[in-house]
């Protein structure tokens, strides 16, 4: 890489950061790792937005809650779950573990000036939401059919009452997705990288090139 070549400023989606920090426990860890390896190899700057960090904290809280749920024995009753959800101790454990993890991530990123850059008093144009609306008006997502699946044992089972086995849902790029893209553009990023295939629908429509990791 020549020294005069402009530095690539890459905006990473939240899924890439959290997957990388979670390590091999995440299904997509290796794909996420490639982004960071490339940043090291080619001296990319990874732009970190406050919105992405906010979402990362929320994701870690979800990950840890899910982990606690999955660690329960099978056959756990609703009453037992409600008691757990209402307990101060459970809330404290999830809050502390997620905050420790999140702080650890931020601690490391803020120490690395060569690879990470953070927002500094960024001004956002209110017109961005108008642009979202215009963009969404011209797009239509897809319908997807999902088989009913138990969140606990992850087995697919039809409803015992009505015997229906699946549900239908409308899936499309939505407000938070577009907000990430708009932030990336405002921060002057040259590329938006995500592991979410849904972003493929707007690649070429928005200004910033979108890379969906396969």
């Amino acid at each position: 890489m020549g020294t005069n070549q402009p530095v690539e400023k890459v905006y990473i989606d939240t899924n890439i950061l959290v997957s990388y920090a979670l390590g091999p426990n995440d299904d997509d860890y290796l794909r996420a790792k490639n982004v960071f390896d490339q940043a090291i190899r080619e001296n990319h700057i990874i732009m970190v937005s406050n919105f992405m960090l906010t979402e990362a904290l929320n994701t870690l809280r979800n990950v840890i809650t899910e982990d606690k749920y999955q660690s329960l024995v099978h056959g756990v009753t609703q009453t037992a779950l409600i008691a757990m959800a209402d307990s101060v101790e459970f809330k404290k454990v999830v809050a502390e573990e997620s905050m420790t993890s999140f702080s650890n991530v931020v601690d490391l990123m803020t120490k690395d000036a060569q690879h990470f850059k953070f927002e500094e008093n960024t001004k956002y144009d209110g017109v961005i939401f108008q642009n979202f609306l215009a963009l969404l008006s011209g797009l239509f997502g897809i319908f997807r059919v999902y088989r009913f699946r138990c969140d606990k044992c992850e087995q697919y089972n039809p409803c015992q009452t009505c015997k229906t086995s699946s549900s239908i849902a409308y899936k499309a790029i939505n407000a938070p997705d577009l907000l990430h893209v708009q932030i990336a553009q405002t921060l002057g990023c040259t590329k938006f990288v995500t592991m979410d295939k849904g972003f493929g629908a707007i690649d070429g429509i928005v200004q910033i090139p979108i890379t969906v990791l396969q």
């Binding site: 426990n25 997509d28 702080s103 979410d196």
Partner: protein, 126 residues
């Protein structure tokens, strides 16, 4: 009350006037002491603990901020302050590698964060 009475009141010292004199005297002494105290302590102010703390932080900002670049250093410092992380930190270009799997203890099971975030964006959080 006649006008004569009024004049006499102003000429003859009243108990309230005595108190007023004492109060003025007290204020005078107070001002004098403040002035003396200020003259003694002002040259020492730069050595006070609070001031030294501010100076240390400023030096730290200049030294560490220099290696990060002032703008980016401030944004990092603000972010760390929100999370209660130490204001004293050094540039570490290897941190990006250390980030890999740094919070693996958060879960003992296989996760799919991309799917989780998709669900959050679609249903839960918005």
């Amino acid at each position: 009350m006649s006008s004569l009475n009024c004049k006499l009141d102003s000429l003859v010292p009243q108990p309230s006037s005595f108190l007023q004199i004492m109060a003025n005297f007290g204020q005078l002494i107070g001002n004098l002491l403040n002035d003396v105290y200020g003259k003694i302590t002002k040259p020492l102010e730069q050595f006070s603990i609070g001031s030294m703390f501010i100076q240390t932080e400023e030096i730290q900002r200049q030294v560490l901020g220099g290696s990060f670049g002032t703008e980016t250093f401030n944004s990092r410092l603000n972010l760390r302050a929100i999370l209660g992380l130490s204001a004293s930190f050094e540039d570490n270009p290897k941190a990006i590698e250390q980030l890999s799997g740094s919070v693996k203890r958060a879960t003992n099971r296989k996760t799919n964060v991309t799917r989780l975030i998709r669900n959050m964006r679609d249903y839960d959080g918005y």
